[in-house]
Symmetry: C2
Subunit: 458 residues, 2 copies
């Protein structure tokens, strides 16, 4: 087992191809490292400039006065091999090749890439990429990406991805949201995965105190037995969600074309993920929603879910989705049913899904929500709560946020909230900010997030 | 076949239970009818008030100087039967019972409801409800709902739902969106469906020039053979999407509890929907997305989809989703591949999914998108286009909206657009407003919308 700390948490960084030109990848990446306040020394390598963005530049890596931990390489493809040789000669510990056009592109590119790998391996140089967007580590202030993220929210999620720009644009969308941002402390994109792979990353984050939840976007697993053995052990304390497309034959072919890796046999992979306690996301939304649930919520004690709703229809829709996701409907205790009855007319018997819309007419919105939601949170047979709530004017009340915060704090049960309505929908969501209550845009998203939470933790 | 026009498009409306109290359903409903500018006369029925909201009121329906088409009943449950008898005595043509607490609530409620039905049927009074949010028909200015919709967007979608408040809150969310609102001209919620049902509605919208696309949220079908025979004929010119939850055993039980209707055998229903050319949505988001695609897009000529993307990963994810949705990946013509090659480096061979991210580096964002997207739209082997695009700063260009509008207009092929990124994501979406280009929030949503479009039209 090798230590990839020089790659993920470097003490010093050089950028071969750094420039002051903001339209070039090397310009954007260096700008992001500077403005991201990297905590160690930065060394732009540029044959002609004396400085880049006010930072002293060096013509070649060998001129840098120390052995750097990490070298970003942002050069045209034909110059990459020379840069790697410079890294080896200068005693750098790790390199991240941003440049694309290798094994994902052609047989010639594959041969070039294998040569890079051989050079690196012979010398012990850690290699990420080629064909990557780069790496972010908020702990050391490394915004080492050629996409700029003005609103990065640091936190306990650590990402490993095997793809190019996808992570960047997805993170931009996530970080642009006004609420419910996913807190990502570390995001490592290894692109074509010529050297450093998912197992190296897993070994690192297993012992990383900043990592609470782990997300993998992978298109192949290099050494499945070793990966699953380690993952099985890690996921007891740090839940893991895997997004691995290629479920269909056409998807597997597209995956092979994308990253140059042979696609894994999907059914075997699916079984291995389930067997070892990893959750599998179906698409990017599923993936992000599951990670948000995992980083915000406690582990459930079981898979018995209460659906508390103010829409009979959404309750029925939610029932299908949670059952299809492997959850069970909780059976309420008599005392719970009695509490529920107190906000319903006598002719209406409560059940699961618990639809208490009419309780709003009977008791008003505040009391109906407070009594109804408290009842499901208190019930010892309820391991998780899915709230699908409607917020038209007559269901609105000022204390919704305070109520959910109190329930979340008092009972420490996983909860997912879906809200439909007009203005109150926005306000209810805003009032939950910082409360570790994940809000989802659709019933499916909420139900899937709870299902994946259970898959990843039970 | 009976004509339900007096219910859906009444010339005159009375409201039994109308009040000036905005916290009561009868107050909100009457307020919405007045402010919605109903085109015919409105008659509030109120035992004590001389006028309601400035409109002359009558103590009982019999005092109204004409036989009204439609009577809304917003009264406590115990007064509903008397109100129905008033409707019959006064010669009203239709009644809509907002009040809940009937067959969905208890055996006693079911008996009461059956008595209402018998009274109505004996006299030919059309009955919608009980347990409904009400009805909207933008053509006659009828905002006959106890939820207020300040931003209703009228258009070619006609909705039939068998549920209470769900439609209301869903419509509030849809109509609160800044972009991509679903244009709904008619929305009829029949609640417990004591009388007027999905077949009556289908017969009406079949000949309604304002209806282009039909959406059903149903939990049961009263007369499946007759419904499917008619639907099979209607959907050739007006596509139909059905959201019918209860796929799982638990979901079917929840459905039965919700509306008091016995749940249909799901597998048989699923087969019948497919056999007769109706699309089936899995959840509320699926339903709304499919309707938006259907109302904005032309019919596809086949099921061959091109995935045009600036993210290899999203392309792989999309491939799984479209194949699982019953679509096929299109094979591009040589001339298409040549056009694609013109924006790629020579080492990269284009395929489907067509990932042209690197073309942005090679040719700049405008030319890469213009050449890449035009190529897939032009190709005669492409029936539908799924664009999953990334919009970080270096992929952004001012003419995105104009380009998509031109492609949409010139080739008249169904297209779904998914955009990830920061600020440009918002601007690109805003620039497509009014262009009949549906934008979706996730790859799954876009892929499912195209799949359901094909299910509903081929």
């Amino acid at each position: 087992m090798r230590d990839i700390k020089p790659l993920i948490a470097p003490r010093s960084i050089a950028v071969i191809g750094a420039s002051a030109n903001p339209t070039k990848s090397g310009g954007v990446l260096f700008h992001n490292l500077v403005t991201g306040n990297f905590k160690g020394p930065l060394y732009p390598i540029n044959r002609t400039a004396a400085e880049v963005m006010g930072v002293r530049a060096y013509p070649v890596l060998a001129d840098v006065p120390e052995k750097v931990d990490l070298v970003y390489i942002v050069l045209p493809r034909q110059h990459v091999e020379d840069a790697i040789k410079q890294c080896v000669a200068a005693g750098a510990r790790a390199a991240c090749i941003i440049t694309a056009g290798f094994s994902e592109a052609s047989q010639e590119g594959r041969a070039d890439e294998e040569r890079l790998r051989d050079i690196a391996r012979a010398s012990g140089l850690l290699l990420a990429g080629p064909n990557t967007i780069g790496m972010v580590n908020a702990e050391v202030g490394m915004m080492g990406s050629f996409v700029n993220f003005p609103h990065w929210e640091a936190g306990g999620v650590s990402f490993f991805t095997q793809t190019g720009i996808f992570t960047g644009a997805l993170m931009l969308s996530v970080m642009s949201a006004a609420t419910q941002r996913l807190p990502v402390g570390k995001s490592i994109d290894v692109g074509n995965k010529v050297d450093v792979d998912e197992l190296d990353f897993l070994n690192y984050v297993a012992d990383d105190p900043g990592t609470k939840v782990i997300g993998f976007y992978i298109e192949s697993i290099r050494n499945p037995p070793a990966f699953f053995e380690k993952a099985h052990q890690v996921c007891r304390s740090k839940p893991i969600v895997v997004l691995k497309p290629g479920r269909t034959r056409a998807g597997a072919a597209a995956s092979a074309a994308h990253t140059g890796s042979p696609a894994s046999a999907d059914a075997a992979l699916d079984a291995a993920l389930a067997q070892h306690g990893l959750a599998r996301a179906e698409d990017e939304d599923d993936f992000l929603n599951a990670l948000r649930a995992l980083v915000m919520l406690p582990r459930p004690r079981g898979r018995r879910v209460a659906i508390a709703t103010t829409s009979g229809a959404l309750g029925v829709i939610a029932t299908d989705l949670v059952v299809e996701g492997g959850l069970e409907l909780a059976s309420f205790e008599p005392v719970t049913l009695a509490a529920m009855r107190s906000i319903l007319p006598e002719w209406l018997a409560p059940a699961n899904p618990f639809d208490f819309w009419i309780g709003i007419d009977v008791k008003g919105p505040r009391e109906a929500h407070e009594t109804g939601l408290t009842a499901v949170f208190v019930d010892p047979n309820v391991d998780l709560v899915l709230c699908t709530l409607l917020a038209p004017g007559n269901a609105d009340f000022a204390e919704f946020g305070a109520l959910m915060r109190r329930l979340r704090r008092s009972y420490d049960k996983p909860v997912a909230v879906v809200i439909y309505g007009g203005e109150a929908q926005q306000r209810w969501t805003a009032d939950l900010e910082g409360a570790n209550v994940p809000v989802f845009r659709t019933t499916r998203a909420g139900a899937r997030a709870l299902s994946l939470l259970v898959q990843a933790t039970l």
